[in-house]
């Protein structure tokens, strides 16, 4: 039995690949679903966050979140994306984002 460099490299590759394919999807089972890289297709129906734009007078206007995204998928962290990008996309003075777990945050636009 001669463990040459090629055989060792193959064994290492196999071990890393198997570890990745077992550990990542297993870990994903312990988080909220669906998670990326976990083969969690159709495991739950995605809940979208709610968002509002706020003008200079402080008036809140609800926005259709779906119009601001190219694709609606359960794995996307839409709340974080809205907090980071809704100001630029909407031109509002401030935005309010309420994630599906009920946490609401107001972001003042610069």
């Amino acid at each position: 039995m001669d463990w040459d460099r090629r055989t060792l490299a193959v064994a290492a590759f196999l071990a890393i690949f198997l570890l990745w394919q077992l550990v990542v999807p297993t870990a994903a089972l312990f988080g909220p679903r669906p998670q990326r890289f976990g083969w969690q297709m159709y495991s739950t129906f995605p809940d979208l966050p709610k968002a509002w734009t706020i003008d200079a007078a402080g008036v809140e206007t609800p926005v259709d979140v779906t119009q601001y995204f190219a694709q609606i998928r359960g794995e996307v962290n839409f709340a974080a994306a809205l907090r980071a990008g809704l100001c630029d996309a909407s031109g509002a003075v401030a935005v309010k984002v309420s994630d599906p777990r009920g946490t609401t945050e107001i972001v003042t636009c610069q």
Binding site: M1, A11, L14, Q21, A28, T44, F69, Q71, G85, L86
Partner: protein
């Protein structure tokens, strides 16, 4: 253990199933391209919010999108044709991985699966057969076994984890299934049918189907059942769930690699009546479609010298197949032939089930009694026997 790993790494498997899996992966990549290209182009729109994985990920603009689309298309065509297969598989894998990591909105499970499968094609010798590479340097019958096993493992793991992930109250209540069922078109499911009990049953069936596929693929006894269940699952998903196109692509990603589980080792001998033009036509087609070279064809006139346990009388009455589990004739022989052809292995096991098998046998006898046998076809020698 160490010795087993060593021997496994040094072992070999057939090249043709791997080549067919490669072609399937390339077709799936080409089918997914317009789907992802649409999202890539939309990400250049200032009204669309970016959702990068990492803050430093470059923004997608038209130029970057077109470069990625070009590399993706060229890579997939290269893999499909098997031209410098490992290098183009590497280019395709890197391109797909870049797309997946550019923005969260570009992620899909089948795109991620394509990244992994094309990644395995870099280390697999998938261009050893049915490729431009093999036309140039000659086809090799065997390649390293471990990348084939990795592809098998990957597909099996995807089914198993998909089943595990669905074991949650949300899915098992049937609400996800009810929301995902098609609402428009001829296969639309009426709202009245989306009540709790049928949806709950469908949800449990989906979990059982995915889990059983993931496990049964590794069992010689249950593998053919897994093929049928997998085909049924993907056809049902594409037919009754929305959106259709991504589900069709998902089927195209998942089903071709199943051929790697097919036991198509040479050894099956088909005995056919070379005194009959009708039989010769059928056998000619079986031979053409035997891309895995699993069948050897022996004509009735060659029987006396073949040493096969089939009488000339039996061969004159019906097609015969000789294999390790015995001799089968008529419709049973046709079924066993179809079970090793790449175009039919997923559904052919259904033909063994009663009453399909009974009706098939009656139909076979009916046709056999009325067949027209024209000897000149035999003289032209339509069937070339494979030698292994």
């Amino acid at each position: 253990m160490t010795e087993r790993v060593y021997r496994f790494i040094g072992s070999h498997g057939p090249s043709r199933p791997l080549a067919l899996a490669r072609i399937g992966i390339a077709v799936a990549a080409l089918m997914e391209l317009p789907n992802t290209a649409k999202v890539l182009m939309q990400l250049d729109d200032p009204g669309i919010i970016r959702a990068p994985f990492l803050p430093w990920t470059p923004a997608v603009n038209d130029g970057l999108a077109w470069v990625l689309i070009g590399l993706w298309g060229a890579g997939a065509v290269g893999v499909l044709l098997g031209w410098r297969t490992r290098r183009v598989a590497a280019a395709l894998c890197v391109t797909l991985a870049t797309v997946v990591l550019l923005d969260q909105q570009l992620y899909s499970n089948h795109l991620y699966l394509l990244v992994l499968l094309s990644g395995i094609l870099i280390v697999a010798d998938s261009g050893a057969a049915l490729s431009l590479d093999s036309r140039r340097s000659g086809e090799r019958g065997e390649v390293s076994r471990w990348p084939i096993w990795l592809l098998q493992f990957q597909v099996s793991a995807a089914y198993l984890f998909a089943a595990f992930a669905k074991v949650n109250p949300d899915f098992l209540s049937g609400s996800t299934v009810a929301s995902s069922l098609r609402r428009v078109g001829p296969l639309a499911v009426p709202d009245g049918w989306r009540s709790m009990e049928p949806m709950l049953i469908l949800a449990v069936l989906a979990v059982c189907a995915e889990a059983s596929i993931g496990i049964a693929l590794w069992s010689r006894r249950w593998r053919s059942t897994a093929f049928v269940v997998a085909l049924g699952l993907h056809v049902s998903l594409a037919a009754w769930f929305a959106p259709t196109y991504p589900l069709v692509i998902f089927a195209v990603v998942m089903l071709p690699p199943l051929i790697l589980f097919l036991d198509a080792a040479p050894g099956r001998v088909v005995v056919w009546d070379d005194g009959c033009g009708f039989c010769a036509t059928w056998v000619k087609w079986f031979n053409r479609l035997d891309w895995l070279h699993a069948l050897r064809f022996v004509s009735r006139s060659e029987l006396p010298t073949s040493g096969l346990p089939v009488s000339e009388d039996a061969a004159a009455r019906a097609l015969q197949i000789v294999w390790s589990d015995g001799v089968h004739g008529g419709f049973a022989a046709v079924t066993r032939i179809l079970e090793v052809l790449p175009v039919s292995f997923l559904w052919a096991p259904l033909l063994r089930l009663p009453p399909i098998a009974w009706v098939g046998e009656i139909g076979y006898r009916w046709v056999a009694l009325r067949r027209k046998c024209e000897l000149p076809v035999m003289a032209s020698g339509p069937v070339v026997s494979h030698s292994h």
